[in-house]
């Protein structure tokens, strides 16, 4: 296994990137493709009722941020835009946009206003190089006028644009991230929007909660908690807003991982006297043993494409390494060859693992834990984080283009978002310590 450069067919065509980075990744989702030049002028404000201006600002910022973070656009700077932004298709003069200085390929624009307490938004996407029939998309939104809905509408419109221009991969602007925060004084499960907005405490157990993993349908969160029976897999219903019953077992039970059909959970349990992996029907029942060795086995992550394989961490040969196995426990294969490798997360397309790795472990070694991406078939890998500190618990976004992870590079452990090629890192949390992010499908 060695350092590698990945060059391959890209989903949108045969472009190649002349980036200075020597490592590149084909995630099969459009990253690394020549980015589309997209102009997004502020939406024109129609009627200025009450707080319309502040809602417009929220909307514009959210839309811009979503499109910028999407990873597939080259955002055209606002200083290149014409003085009067278009509010409707009639206002658009294609030549203002499709020639330098903006030289945009695509233009997202529209108008918004508040009427009778409702926020009305009209948005369009124009292919400004196509003078005959430029309109790609036209959408209307009508929601109660408040800041949350201004953000929501912006996310929806952004996801429409990303879906159209991003090779048919749904956007993630409306998705949620679940994580652990200690800011209440205890480690509890929290949730937030993918961009770090709307951070909200979910559990109030007053104990220790770890390793939240949301079900694929977004209805439940499996996590590990200290109960009167020790560490148990706990199940929080996002529908009912409370813990619901889940079987308890002797020993330490932790690190749940969902199969992508939502039917099965894999988890680590030490009921036999040492920690091994088991699978169990997600509605309860009898666990099925997957591993049996003295070293700790933890952190199962299913191949969400097939549910036929599970990546996990085992200390069976000493320091923890990443392994894969068939989902019935057979065909165990070690995939990392050295150091301290933990916290695998399997990409939505089934092709990649991301994980945390201290490659050169031991006295005198630098010992940074960084996030790595590995092509499962070839075992070739590439390092994604380079900014020092302890980086851990990467989790894939459903679009396969983004990864959320924890890092203490700036002091306390916080959550960061990045593209799956390691670029565009963005800090999502600042309050307390935040860890173990898990990206939901919805």
């Amino acid at each position: 296994m060695k350092r590698f450069a990945i060059f391959t067919v890209l989903i949108l065509g045969s472009f190649t990137l002349s980036a200075s980075a020597q490592d590149w990744i084909r995630t099969g989702t459009g990253l690394g493709v020549e980015k589309i030049r997209l102009a997004v002028p502020d939406f024109k404000v129609n009627a200025s009722e009450g707080n319309t201006q502040s809602l417009a600002m929220t909307f514009d910022q959210t839309l811009w941020n979503d499109l910028e973070m999407a990873g597939i656009f080259d955002m055209v700077g606002k200083s290149f835009y014409p003085m009067a932004p278009p509010g409707t298709p009639q206002d658009v003069r294609l030549k203002d946009w499709n020639q330098p200085p903006p030289n945009a390929s695509m233009l997202a624009f529209g108008n918004l206003g508040v009427q009778g307490g409702y926020l009305n938004v009209q948005g369009w996407l124009f292919d400004v190089k196509n003078e005959q029939s430029p309109q790609v998309l036209g959408k209307q939104y009508h929601e109660e006028a408040n800041d949350a809905n201004a953000r929501l509408i912006a996310h929806r419109f952004a996801d429409e644009i990303i879906f159209r221009l991003g090779g048919g991969v749904p956007g993630i602007a409306e998705s949620k991230i679940y994580y652990i925060s200690n800011r209440s004084g205890h480690k509890e499960v929290w949730q937030m929007d993918y961009d770090g907005a709307n951070q909200k405490q979910i559990t109030h157990n007053g104990s220790i909660a770890l390793s939240p993993h949301v079900s694929p349908d977004g209805s439940r969160i499996a996590y590990a908690g200290v109960t009167k029976d020790g560490w148990q897999i706990q199940m929080w219903s996002l529908v009912l807003g409370r813990n619901v019953s889940f079987p308890r077992f002797n020993g330490t039970n932790q690190s749940p991982g969902w199969s992508s059909d939502g039917r099965t959970l894999a988890f680590s349990s030490s009921w036999s006297g040492h920690s091994d992996l088991y699978s169990i029907d997600s509605s309860g029942g009898v666990p099925h043993r997957l591993t049996n060795d003295r070293g700790p086995d933890v952190s199962p992550s299913w191949n969400p494409k097939t549910n036929a394989q599970i990546a996990f961490v085992s200390g069976r040969t000493g320091l923890p390494q990443i392994y894969t196995m068939a989902s019935d426990g057979t065909n165990v294969v070690r995939v990392t060859d050295q150091g301290y490798a933990v916290s695998p997360s399997w990409s939505p397309n089934g092709q990649f693992l991301v994980f945390a790795w201290v490659r050169h472990y031991g006295p005198g070694a630098p010992g940074a834990s960084d996030i790595y991406l590995m092509d499962v078939a070839s075992r070739q890998w590439v390092q994604l984080t380079h900014d020092g500190g302890h980086n851990d618990f990467p989790s894939w976004a459903p679009d396969g283009r983004h990864i959320v992870y924890q890092s203490n590079r700036s002091g306390r452990t916080q959550l960061y978002l990045m593209l799956a090629d390691g670029t565009q890192n963005k800090k999502l949390t600042t309050s307390g310590e935040n860890s173990q992010p898990n990206w939901g499908n919805k």
Partner: protein, 245 residues
Amino acid sequence: MKLSRAKWFGLIVALAAALAVSGCGKKKVATATPPPPPPPPAPTATLTANPNTINAGQSSTLIWSTTNATDVSIDTLGKVGPSGTVQVVPSESTTYRLVAKNQSGTQEATARVTVNPPSAPAPLKSNAGDAELFMDNMKDVFFDYDSYDIGGRYTAVLQEDARFLQAHPSISFTIEGHCDERGSIEYNIALGDNRALAAKQALVSMGISANRIKTISYGKEKPFCTESTEACWQQNRRAHFVYGQ
């Protein structure tokens, strides 16, 4: 669905026995093959204990250095590096013997740690509560990095603990497994679990009933010491005894 304790107890004992027999988990030590002749000079070795007199329960530091040795070991501690230091907590006066070897010869060095017996024969302030006695007498077990094997010197600590527990058969207690701040949250929960279970298995093998012992891992969630230093990390890699279940 809970498994019967007796059944697992049996399994645990069997497993402990199997592990003891197979001695698994030993790491290979790579030894470079020196070029053939000339034969190396004979090894030299020194070993000192500081302090060389302690009170029961206190620790002493062994300091050793060798030259030319290809194989260095200290009785009760096993193979060690060519030079180093280690903390020991002997429960009675002990002579530590270091043996340094290479193909030309063997050099020994010894150091003795004298342990003063507890001044007032410690057992048992009859008016003290069980909890207080437990805290005064039960000594924690410490571990090497990423290890859940009970090192040679801590077997003696656990024997003392077992002696106390045998004298107080009504006490039930919890063993907490702890880890240092390095490494991953989930892996450390499992590692701490293994540490607590290792201490439990050792006590059970010394005749303490498994029913008296509850275990829980705190991984790196409840550190004793929060600085990022080896001294602090060592404090956090432990099986900690807590009165009650």
